[in-house]
């Protein structure tokens, strides 16, 4: 049962058939490892001593955090006594790492010693604030989608990246990924007073 507890906060995937072939890593590739995810580059720039990517997992037993930056994996050590975890503007203790969901966007401040990165701070991306009168609920969206864009007089825009949209989207939605907005603004209606509804992969 003790072992079960270690599992908290991690997503266990299920094994598939057979063995995966592993290519020996080439050293030049390891050096070129990105320090910031592509998605973060929309608003942030790479900075020394800082990593931006998606949270993968945490192991308190080996005091390590694993995060994904594009396709590469970074492992940083941490000291549970001293690490600061910033969630929704509040600084919390290491335990807050256990509650983080896989895939959550995080920034890690670290120092490097003998090739080992040690995190001093993990900051979880805060939610963007949107004025209440501009928010729509699932029930409201359901009603509009049932009517359809013509009768409901709306344009539903999915701001997620193309590959996510392709895997499945809300009925009647069109895809304008956020980074491509300027290129694709021609897809928006001519009428500036038309109802445009934006959504993406959850509260970000």
């Amino acid at each position: 049962m003790l072992l079960r507890k270690i599992l908290t906060g991690t997503l266990v995937l299920f094994t598939a058939l057979g063995i995966v072939t592993v290519m020996p890593a080439n050293k030049a590739e390891a050096k070129k490892k990105p320090t910031i995810s592509k998605m973060c580059l929309n608003c942030h720039k790479p900075a020394p001593g800082s990593l931006r990517g998606k949270f993968d997992s945490v192991a308190f037993k080996s005091r390590s955090i694993q995060l994904k930056i594009n396709k590469s994996t970074e492992i940083v050590k941490f000291n549970p006594e001293t690490i600061q975890v910033v969630v929704a503007g509040k600084t919390e203790k290491a335990e807050a790492l256990r509650k983080l969901k896989k895939g959550k966007e995080i920034r890690v401040e670290y120092s490097k010693k003998g090739g080992v990165k040690t995190a001093s701070l993990v900051s979880v991306k805060p939610k963007i604030k949107v004025a209440a009168e501009k928010l729509l609920t699932t029930a409201e969206i359901e009603k509009l989608v049932a009517k359809g864009p013509k009768k409901g007089k709306y344009l539903l825009v999915d701001a997620r990246p193309g590959p996510r949209f392709k895997e499945g989207a809300l009925p009647t939605a069109i895809n304008i990924p956020y980074p491509a907005f300027d290129k694709k603004k021609g897809m928006l209606p001519k009428d500036k007073s038309a109802l445009i509804i934006y959504y993406c992969g959850g509260v970000t």
Binding site: V22, L136, T138, I196
Partner: protein, 250 residues
Amino acid sequence: MKAEQLGYTNVKVYHEGMPAWSKRNYSVLSPKFLQEAFIKKDIPHVLLDVRPAKKAKKGFIKGAVTLPAGKVKSALKNFPPPKKKAPIIVYDAKGGKKAVKAAKTLVKAGHKKVRLLTGGVKAWEKGKYPLEKGTLATEIVYVPKPRPGEMSMDAFMEIADKTPSNILILDVRNRDEANAGVIKGAMLVPDEEILDRMSEIPKNKMIVCHCATGVRAEMAYHKLKGKGYNVKFLNANIFIEKDGSYEIEK
């Protein structure tokens, strides 16, 4: 909001977005996207043909399982459990009532990645995508993609039982955990010590890492792979007894 900067006055936000929607509703994809995002990329998914079995036989999408819309409810137990988050794509002749009914049944059963193929087989054909003829599969199979470097439980057990000389099992748990029992022939290097003790880990053998749950084993995998090792890891819960016998579960 970039749209507001352009002068749009009625811009709203569905803040909860896709995750909230998927809890209560199915989503949709076009034939082009089924082909590009799933079939071509070989992304594991469940594809359901909910037309009557006789009709389905005359032309179906490759990989589809036949399950007429009316039978979905009684077959729910044959689906992978919702916690596996399998993408389930439902289609009928034209993306009509049958597919909607089946999709709604699956959403209600707790599946959060239910998709409906817009326009059904008709739209699929219009897109000039191939149809297969003959017998459809009747059993729903879903095998999620392993994480990079992940070794199957079966392969791991074979190695643990036979201890081949060209493979080394690396136990990356802490000493207090290992005190309770270690797999026969395994070498103990706690994940924390790997970088310092790299020289003790042989380069001429394939390394298979395990911990207690797979989390640290995966971290160890990345550390060793970064140093050029031929390495894999067990992504599962493993319980090891004093005598070296063990149990693995996902």
